[in-house]
Structure formats: C-alpha cells, structure tokens
C-alpha cells in the first residue's frame, strides 16, 4: 500500500518535537532552525506544521537546472541528489509553499525526503498531528484533540 504523509493541523500543539527530530535526523547539531518541517505558531499551543507536499508537478523540479531533484518512485518523495546540486538556490526561491530551505551551515539546500520512507519526525509527535499512513486512510478526518485533558495542573 502506498503510504502518505498526513498532517492534521487541528491536532498540533506547537511543541516543536518534530522540528528537533528532523534536525537531529539530518544534521549533527540538532538545530531546529534547519529543520525541514516548520511549525508556524498561531497562538499558545496552536501551530501549523508546514512540510514539503511532494507536489506532483513541482516548481522545484521544473526550475532545477541540473535535474538534481527527482521523484523517488518507492517513497513518492521528490528526492534531492546532492551530487548534482550546484547550490544556485533557485528551488528555494521557486517553491510556492516555502518548503525548500537554504542551510547556511552546510551550504546546501534542505528538503524533506520522507527519510527514505520512514519519517523520523512522526514517532515524536505526541498528538498524532503528523502521521505516516496508508494513502486510503489519508482522507479520514482526525479525531478532535481534547486540549483540556492534555493541560497540566
């Protein structure tokens, strides 16, 4: 069964664990600033995780002058072939959703590759706001998160 990365925005509590998990999975410093998943914080404990949508017709793929971005048929992700990348940063500018990131530390473009079919951020989400599910389950609306129950004290 084809798996899909599902984001249930209404369940996000903006804890930032996914950002940390990503930063540790893809770098040595664990800086959430270079995470490939980014939470836009809308208010206390209210967040919108924004992560690469792996678009079918992707602007990053269209703009790349060296075909460094290619679809991985196994995971469905648009993968970055670092050997082909020339760091012109056009994909960063072209992505209409802001999901291509320029990493000044490693001087390269960061993009979500779904960790080769096992996203490392998913198991760290305490509320199931992000999930790796079979494609036919992706359209099922998420359960409403009982925020009162989660509250401490």
């Amino acid at each position: 069964m084809k798996m899909i990365y599902k984001v249930s925005v209404e369940r996000c509590i903006a804890c930032g664990k996914c950002e940390l998990a990503c930063a540790f999975a893809h770098g040595t410093e664990g800086k959430p600033a270079v995470s490939r998943i980014n939470i836009t914080r809308r208010g206390p404990e209210l967040g919108t995780p924004v992560i690469c949508y792996q678009c079918d017709t992707a602007a990053c793929v269209a703009i790349c002058p060296t075909q460094a971005l290619v679809r991985n048929e196994k995971t469905g992700a648009v993968d970055m072939d670092r050997g082909r990348c020339i760091s012109c940063r056009m994909c960063v500018a072209a992505c209409p959703f802001g999901n291509m990131l320029w990493d000044e530390t490693y001087h390269c473009v960061q993009k979500c590759d779904l960790c080769g079919g096992d996203p490392q951020c998913v198991p760290f989400c305490p509320t199931g706001a992000i999930a790796w599910v079979p494609a036919d389950m992706a359209a099922i609306p998420p359960e409403v998160l009982d925020r009162e129950e989660l509250a401490v004290g």
Binding site: I63, P65, G83, S87, C88, R89, G98, H107
Partner: protein
Amino acid sequence: MPTLSIDGKKVVAAEGSTILEAARTAGVDIPTLCHHDGLEPWGGCRLCIVDLWQPGWDEDWFKLVTSCNHPTADGMRIFTKSERVVETRGVVLDLLLARCPDAPLIQQMAADHGIEETSYAPREEPDDCILCALCTRVCDHLDITAISTVNRGAGKEVAPPFHEAPPDCIGCLACAEVCPTDCIPYETSNVRRSIWGKEFEMLRDPATGQAVITKAQAEFFAGRGGVPGTYFDTSDTSKRREMAKKFVSLQILE
C-alpha cells in the same frame, strides 16, 4: 547491460554509464576533482585515471583512461590501483601541490596518496585555483557563460572578459559553490551580493527582508520559463506563513 570487472569485482553497469559511475555503484572509490554529477564529464584533472583492458586486446596490453568520461563496454577489465595508476596519479597530485601548496583539499589528497611535500618548485605567488574548470562549466551549463578560462599554459586562469565586471553574470554563486578549493571570493547578505567585481541587488521579501537570490537571477530564471516569476517574490518564511493562514481561511481550523 555491460558486465565488466573492476579490481576483480564483477559489476553490471547501467546502459550508457561511465566507468566512474560503474565503480561508484560497485563501491570502488576513484578520486576526482573536476567531476560533478550535474555537469558533463570533462576529464580535466586526470586524477580518475584507471587501467583499462578490453576484449580483443593483447593480454598484457592496458590503456590509461579517464574513468569519468569513458563509457563502459561488455567484458572490460578495470584496475583502479595498479602500479601505473598509482604512479601517474601521484605525479598529478605532486604537480597540483606545486601549483596550489596552500589549498587544504590538495594537501589532504596528496597526503592520502603519501605525498607530504611537492617535489617540484612551488608556484611563487600561488592561489588555490586548480583550473578544474568546474566554475566555467557550471556557468556554461546555465547558458550564462559570464566567466571562462583565459590565456594558455602557465598563464592560464579563470576570469571574466577583460578582467572587468562580467556583464552576463547573474550572481547565482554556483561557480563559488562548486569550486572544490573554495577559491572564488564573494560576499552576500540580505541586501547586496558581490562576485567577480560585480555588485548585485538582492530580491528581498517585502515583509521579512530575507533574500536568497539576486534580482538578476530571478529575471534570468523567469525568462527561462517553467515557473512563473511571481513565485520568486517572497521568501520561504513568508510563504510558509501564507500557507498557515490559508489553512485558517479554509476553515480547517477555528
């Protein structure tokens, strides 16, 4: 698909692949300096040389070829660490070390090969350019060709036309980023960028002030098509904020 042997290992290479690609698939390391997967192979640095034998040749006859641009064929025998390969590669590294005695990458590669000091006279006023032409080739690949190699022999160098600010340069920094010895100086900020003596204005996000590309770069890539030029106007941070707002306006959220 051609089947060949690399250092005695049987390798099935992809159709149309080069010896270097086949070796990498088989996990055999061949050093190179001028090779880049995103560009046409060039065979300039001569470090990726290997000993080649092909069916039909005398049993003791081998030919030194650059593996990066030599296509694979059925029945080939490749030796990447034969005495002749090691010796020839040593001479290349020795010469590179004489040319660029201060480049850490060259020092490291030479040391890995057992060369601590060059046996030739080092260049008197050395820079770190090894003339691998990655910078000029990446510029050509983008159809910009703002820089090229000029002069011949000992006076050969990479330069913009007439050593003046190159009119065609768009300030994408690809040349500086692909340079294996990081010897192309540039300065960049959210406001200005300068490289090859040319100043560029950055394409800044109106809200955050962030910028990753120059205005000239945006114009050039918008002209190439594929992606609407308006996509470049805002920064990734702004775009993510817009997406988050969109979810709210779609009434997914309260």
